[in-house]
């Protein structure tokens, strides 16, 4: 088994919530990421799913050290980023890059494609000014954009093309791992398919690792080797994509899978849907014990008593549910 390129150990990201204008006091703590441990291997695609507010994006930002971790560690290629100094961190940023959801908001509208792609390479001294033109052209070809478009501005491109520019920008520094936060959610289905194909091809060709965050489970299953399901800051199920999505075990994963509409009228109308009642609980005031128990059909007194640990089942997946073997 290849060495993990990225390892998270009991990672926690808490945000204090302050109240009061003059007398600031801490009114509560939002545990956005609450004890996440996982490893990503070289060339692996890890899907990260969950509802809005479950901490997926905060987890991504904590990995990249865009928000500081409260506790725990992020180890990238053997280097502990949570303890690293500014210079060391800057060097590590080359290794990990991010693609954001909104291709309209994540590109600087005043920079041409050329400037957008050249800037990181010049900042990190990957090449000289003389060489940069050739490298930009190569990057653009890699993501399926004609190099002659290099002098154009983001507004002259469609949403799918902009997402290609964002992917090219992430690739500019030749990273080992890319974190893509909902990269296809804002795109139409036909364009979505193009970007998914592009990501799959790049991962294969460059042996990239990819953390792929999305709420569309069919997209996640298509692209990912393994999937982690998050609920209120914790991983509740982690395993091979086909296992987790086709045969979910945690009650929350089951509900999530059953909520995805299938583009097939006969199947869609025949199947029984688990409709979860209510919204996810407030992260400011999470329920005691298993955070999912107020919405769970299988919850017992045991579930309310203690937070269930993530435990490995016989098929290798990990599930955080005390009743998983009975239900």
């Amino acid at each position: 088994m290849p060495e993990p390129i990225l390892e998270l150990k009991n990672l926690q990201t808490y945000f204090p919530v302050r109240r009061g204008l003059v007398f600031r006091r801490t009114a509560g703590i939002v545990k956005a990421v609450d004890g996440v441990s996982l490893a990503v291997r070289s060339g692996e695609v890890l899907g990260l799913v969950g509802e809005s507010g479950c901490g997926k994006s905060t987890l991504a930002r904590t990995i990249l050290q865009l928000v500081p971790a409260t506790a725990g560690s992020v180890v990238l290629e053997g280097r502990n980023l949570t303890a690293a100094g500014a210079a060391e961190l800057r060097a590590s940023r080359r290794t990990m890059q991010m693609v954001f959801q909104d291709p309209y908001g994540s590109l600087n509208p005043r920079l041409t494609v050329f400037a957008t792609l050249a800037e990181p390479m010049l900042v990190h001294r990957l090449c000289t000014r003389a060489e940069v033109g050739g490298r930009v052209a190569k990057l653009m070809e890699m993501v399926g954009l004609a190099p002659r478009l290099a002098r154009k501005y983001p507004h002259e491109f469609s949403g799918g093309q902009r997402q290609r520019i964002a992917v090219a920008r992430a690739l500019a520094l030749q990273p080992r791992i890319i974190i893509a936060d909902e990269p296809v959610s804002a795109l139409d289905v036909s364009v979505q398919a193009q970007i998914l194909n592009l990501l799959a091809e790049l991962v294969r060709r460059m042996n990239l690792s990819l953390i792929f965050i999305a709420h569309d489970l069919s997209v996640v299953k298509h692209l990912s080797d393994r999937v982690a399901v998050m609920y209120l800051g914790k991983i509740v199920e982690l395993g091979l994509a086909v296992d987790v999505i086709d045969r979910p075990r945690h009650p929350y994963t089951r509900a999530l899978v059953s909520a995805i509409p299938t583009p097939d009228p006969d199947i869609e109308r025949a199947r029984l849907r688990i409709v979860l009642a209510g919204d996810p609980p407030s992260p400011l005031d999470p329920p005691a014990g298993c955070a999912f128990h107020p919405r769970c059909a299988f919850a017992t007194a045991k579930c309310r008593a203690a937070v269930p640990p993530l435990e490995r089942l016989a098929d290798g997946r990990e599930v955080a549910c005390v009743r998983v073997e009975e239900i």
């Binding site: 289905v189 298509h222 692209l223 409709v275």
Partner: protein
């Protein structure tokens, strides 16, 4: 007789540089109690079609160039403003994609919720509030009597969408137009909202026009489907026919590009090229430049939506000729 019959609707946007043909000759009907899905990608004219019917098209730059939308004998596109106002929010209601920005943040839920009742029915404020609380309970908001006095920011996205639905349905409309009402929501919340729309539709016997780009939602909710491309309807059929015997190359291509219909990890089918520029539509069929089956004929003559099987229409010349 259908509840709503839209015939040859054309709505263009006039800008300084060009004319954008956002909706260019769309014809469809909605029967009483029926759910019609309108699917298509961004810019295909789904929303503009519904905005035109509701009289919400910003004019200028938009302009309704032609066609009619007959609702119960009244042409919504040409009737006097006071007649249109008496229908809108009373017999025809609409809900929008983004519930967080569609509610007025300065007004309490109660004021927004009962406004349609106050305007359209001779009802006292106290009675309207009672109906408001009942309606909030019907859409699944617990503790409605207390929550009705809250402001929108105190509600989650799913709850705001419930409030929007309550507001739209409080006057018991005969037609609900839903413009991507679940696109901004999580799948679990989407499942709740779709359940709610289905249940209320049964109880009130209303017709629904459901705009979406999610074919999965269409499969579970709609009776009939209209597929739009570049401002035109390219296919119209019952929901099973659309999924099991699609008769337009664009409908087929759309279905083939969804990951869940493909084998895991396989290269996904993609439609080559981009949707056309609506200010400079190609001659002939607008989909021809991206179509696998296009011939010289497709680029030359303008296809019209025509019935090719009972209840199924396609605007593909080659399908109409029985070639594909």
């Amino acid at each position: 007789m259908p509840l709503l019959a839209v015939n040859g609707l054309r709505a263009y946007f006039h800008t300084r540089d060009a004319i954008y043909r956002a909706v260019d000759g769309v014809t469809f009907t909605v029967a009483k109690g029926e759910t019609l899905g309108i699917v298509g990608e961004s810019g295909s004219g789904k929303s503009v079609t519904c905005y035109s019917i509701m009289g919400l098209l910003p004019q200028p730059p938009g302009r309704i160039e032609g066609g009619s939308a007959i609702f119960d004998g009244i042409d919504l596109l040409r009737c006097p403003p006071n007649v249109a106002r008496s229908l809108r929010g009373k017999r025809i209601a609409m809900i929008f994609q983004d519930p967080m920005t569609s509610l007025n943040p300065f007004l309490r839920i109660s004021d927004q919720l009962i406004e349609p009742l106050i305007i359209h029915e001779k009802i006292s404020k106290a009675a309207a509030l009672r109906r408001g609380v009942e309606m909030l309970e019907a859409v699944g908001i617990n503790d409605a009597a207390r929550r009705i006095d809250r402001y929108p920011h105190e509600f989650s996205g799913g709850m705001c969408q419930r409030v929007m639905i309550a507001m739209a349905l409080i006057t018991r409309p005969e037609l609900l137009i839903a413009d991507e009402p679940t696109t901004a929501l999580d799948v679990t919340v989407q499942a709740q909202i779709l359940d709610l729309i289905r249940r209320l539709q049964r109880e009130l016997g209303m017709a629904v026009i459901f705009i979406t780009h999610d074919l999965g939602v269409v499969a579970g909710l709609c009776d009939r489907v209209l597929v739009m491309y570049a401002g035109r309807a390219v296919e119209s059929a019952g929901v099973r026919a659309i999924f099991y015997q699609p008769r337009h190359p664009y409908t087929r291509a759309l279905q083939r590009s969804i990951p869940s219909t493909q084998q895991k990890g396989a290269v996904l089918f993609t439609i080559p090229g981009l949707p056309p520029d609506l200010s400079a539509l190609p001659a002939g069929c607008a989909f021809a430049p991206r179509c696998e089956s296009a011939t010289a004929l497709c680029r030359g003559s303008d296809p019209q939506l025509a019935e090719i099987a009972p209840g199924q229409s396609s605007a593909c010349l080659r399908v109409q000729a029985g070639e594909i």
